[in-house]
Symmetry: C2
Subunit: 164 residues, 2 copies
């Protein structure tokens, strides 16, 4: 049986998320290159460095629970990134494309907020205090990124798109 | 040019979400059938009826903005549902599978929270007041579903999974 205990499930979800974060590390430079708004572009670049750090943090979680850091293809993130790729390829007004890129990025952030939220809860139930600390740190970062994207959309990107 | 204005983008996102909700209508009965916990099972069934209603509400949004209700395949939701399908097929302890089903469902809810949040903002900027009301109503429901899933996980499903 593949998922016999909550520990098995926790590990399975960690592997899914490691794949998700690694996929994002490859996708974010393309999102940055496609952005016209300089604040959005540097935001994606900053989030790339943060995501690289989150990959390392996930590897630490594997370490503290005594498991090998191995990724398991996250098909949901594949879909989310494919959706982002469609926007990148789209023939669009730059300001409108920026608004679409933010929408796609916020869907990615929400995927991660749900995933890390679940992992923090499970880590707590399994008594992995160090893992709770590490995962909570990333959860906080993902929420902050989502908030920053909302702010950028509302103050600058959406109004520019609405003028088109 | 496919996305020349914010109106084009709003319409594109509406079509994506119509596809996403329709996919969910097909997936939820399978999630309900795979759930062992009776509260979770009836929760999925209740959310199915709510989702059917959300499809109708989306069609009303198309109507109030004077556009034809047409879906455009949402690849992100395809990925999310495929992930849910993997869990359904998984050989797992029933209580552990329930915890996994909740995690998958919360990722779906978060996708929708991000999507409806964006749509409410764009509808407001475009001056579609009736659309704002309709979309906000669904956004509220999605958040409530996410909260209910968290509560069920914490009070009953996770503790049962942790005993495995």
């Amino acid at each position: 049986m593949a998922l016999k205990t909550l520990k098995d499930l926790f590990l399975d979800e960690l592997r899914d998320l490691l794949s998700a974060e690694k996929q994002l590390v490859k996708a974010l430079p393309k999102m940055a290159a496609a952005a016209a708004n300089p604040v959005l572009q540097s935001g994606f670049e900053k989030h790339l460095r943060e995501t690289e750090n989150q990959v390392e943090r996930l590897k630490q979680v594997f370490e503290v629970i005594g498991e090998t850091a191995r990724a398991k293809t996250c098909v949901a993130m594949e879909g989310l990134i494919e959706e982002g790729g469609e926007i990148i390829e789209e023939d669009a007004e730059p300001a409108v494309k920026d608004a679409a890129l933010i929408a796609a990025a916020q869907k990615v952030e929400h995927y991660e907020i749900a995933a890390y939220g679940t992992l923090v809860t499970w880590a707590g139930m399994l008594g992995h205090k160090k893992a709770v600390t590490l995962l909570s740190q990333t959860l906080k970062e993902e929420k902050a990124t989502d908030d920053k994207l909302t702010q950028l959309a509302e103050t600058s990107v959406n109004p520019a798109a609405a003028r088109k």
